[in-house]
Symmetry: C2
Subunit: 387 residues, 2 copies
């Protein structure tokens, strides 16, 4: 049993919106297919993967470094018991001749390929990816009904506050109960107006609204915003400062009574652990948001959850960034506290399977083999172009 071919394509996101730091109109994503020598119904089993938005496609790292190392060692692709691929062994092949530290584009490229390998491994076992993840992690009770929140509220010059409110109303109409919007791309007074407009839609219930600064603020601004946000009792205040400025983060946490959330731009277990050790984060109050589709993929995320337990954190405080079917599978298999969703944006990667409605803020896991990408028609159509 082996992988016989690895294909990838760089897909433009073409998304017109921006957050406080970047404009997504030039963003790209790598979609990856892993073709195995296992045949089902006359067709080879193929696993699919992609990286999450925000870090660009990684064709060069995949083609020049990762794929050749995997393909030159086919004898290490399968589990010893022959039941399916061994994603952890394949991940070790990818990382041959890579130095420690410097977790950037490589983490993103490995993630896209690793996800495709896990998808294939689950399909070969004819089981959903969330169940394979639960098995690997030793989780006896994977979560079947995942809390999701709708992430949007990007800045768009043509949209204005009316457009923001209309966007959030659409999410509520779709069945979401909790939403997230951007802050920090306008003045603090403008952001206060935007927040209050959305809160009016949520019956003034701050616990249904999160705000995201995308790491933009310096310490003084981060604390000034914290002060302005306290009266609203928000669900969380996300990424106030640079993701690696653990002292800044600790300074915000020390003065902000409600939850702080961060971690989507920490692209490895080592970086994630440093946040828990040095970032002042409170295991009973705050959230971490590492993204499996940016940070080395599924195996690394299982290891991150084990690390969280060692550092005194419940996996329920982990709400993965990414808003896609992979993140949903991971959230289910590891019984995380929930999962981001991008219902309106980052198509066709954002969002979940077509036939799975959001009901009272939750989404049911699919019983499709693998991650279930095939059950999202627009995504499936894109992935099929790799074959």
């Amino acid at each position: 049993m082996r992988i016989v071919e690895i294909r990838d394509v760089a897909v433009p996101m073409g998304a017109p919106m921006r957050n406080a730091v970047i404009d997504f109109s030039k963003m790209t994503v790598s979609a990856v297919a892993v073709v195995t020598d296992v045949v089902r119904g006359g067709e080879p089993v193929v696993g699919f993967g992609f990286n999450a938005n925000g870090r660009y496609a990684q064709s060069a790292v995949i083609r020049e470094r990762l794929a050749p190392r995997v393909l030159e060692a086919p004898e290490e692709h399968a589990r010893a018991d022959g039941t399916t691929l061994d994603p952890r062994a394949i991940r070790r092949l990818m990382m041959r001749n890579e130095k420690p530290g410097g977790h950037g584009e490589r983490a993103v490229a490995v993630a896209a390929l690793d996800i495709a390998v896990w998808d294939a491994a689950a399909k070969i076992r004819d089981m959903p990816l969330w169940a394979l993840i639960a098995e690997d992690a030793g989780n006896p009770a994977p979560e079947q009904h995942i809390p999701v929140y709708a992430a949007g509220g990007y800045y768009d010059p043509d949209k204005g506050t009316d457009g923001l409110v209309a966007e959030m109303r659409r999410y509520l109409d779709e069945g979401y109960t909790q939403v997230k919007m951007k802050i920090g791309g306008a003045t603090i007074d403008e952001d206060r107006d935007r927040i209050e407009a959305v809160l009016a839609l949520l019956d003034g219930d701050g616990s249904r609204l999160a705000v995201d600064a995308n790491g933009r603020f310096d310490e003084q601004t981060a604390r000034r915003y914290a002060g302005a946000l306290v009266p609203y009792g928000l669900a969380w205040y996300e990424e106030p400062g640079d993701p690696l400025d653990f002292s800044l983060n600790a300074s915000v946490v020390a003065t902000y009574p409600d939850p702080v959330a961060t971690g989507e731009n920490l692209l490895s277990l080592h970086d994630a652990r440093n946040l828990l050790r040095f970032g002042g984060m409170r295991p009973e109050i705050d959230y971490v948001q590492f993204d499996p589709a940016l940070a080395y993929g599924v195996g690394e995320t299982i290891d991150i959850v084990a690390m969280m337990a060692e550092e005194g954190w419940s996996q329920r405080r982990f709400l993965p960034h990414g808003g896609n079917l992979l993140a949903l599978s991971v959230a289910g298999g590891l019984s995380l506290g929930g999962c981001e969703s991008y219902p309106g944006v980052f198509q066709p990667f954002g969002g979940f399977a077509d036939e799975t409605p959001v009901e009272d803020g939750r989404v049911r896991l699919s019983d499709a083999p693998g991650a279930g990408f095939e059950r999202k028609a627009a995504l499936n159509e894109l992935l099929r172009t790799l074959l």
Copy 2:
């Protein structure tokens, strides 16, 4: 005044040796040329740059992300006073639409291009790069006579301990007084034998020998090696554990009386600051080794030295990784404590100008305009292929 063209080429290193973690035979490096519209002697002024070894060439990041952003905003290339290019403004262009955190391949790609921009900026001023760096950093007394140590002692199955000693003898014959060798790629007993063989050549003076584990050890092994090294009173014990495991580093430092050195795999100012804040490093004893040709280039390194001062560190504790003319220019311009050198390896990038001998463990800065790459014939020949 503007940059009119950016060219790059991926160069195989073709080096047969390995350290405790990687094999260099498949390593590549990006060489970059920045062509300006400034003409001298009938020829355009061209700046050159390259990244340091260990992180692969970065053509895709340079071509797809950095170069287009720079070339689409020529009005921001020059300083307001028109005297030369503005490398910090050009660096800001490179980083448009890049998210914070995740400092990996991007840091390496920016470094190669940033170095070429600084080289061009110094050539336009008709001054050495070290002098331009000193001016930018406000350093009134750049160091003209830089302490260097010879880094080698890689594992090579055909070399053995006799080959290791012969290699080190060659460095001493060339004028080096301090040398560095790898550890951790063999058993601790074998490494002890290798260390003692080299120490015999150094009249038993441990302060002339550093050892480098390349981040390989877990905490228990790192501390076991620390215990084994204490009797030798070595110059330093380099990168005992994963570069981001600050707790492991602090644990080693706490039990090891002699200098610990680390930092070459921390690819940004934020990561460097976290090492100083959380890594247990002692400002009076230990060394940091950030690499300007891996970590965003010259401007970031100037900012790192300013950060070190804020954290209570003298720039004399900074010995940059990289062993090339760029690192030497930075060490001089910022009056760092010295500079690595790769006299025998990583050619044609490793080592200094052809006509500058190592005298009593020091190298004189060149008065050539820019970084002086043109004064190293083999390197100059390679860089000319970009034109």
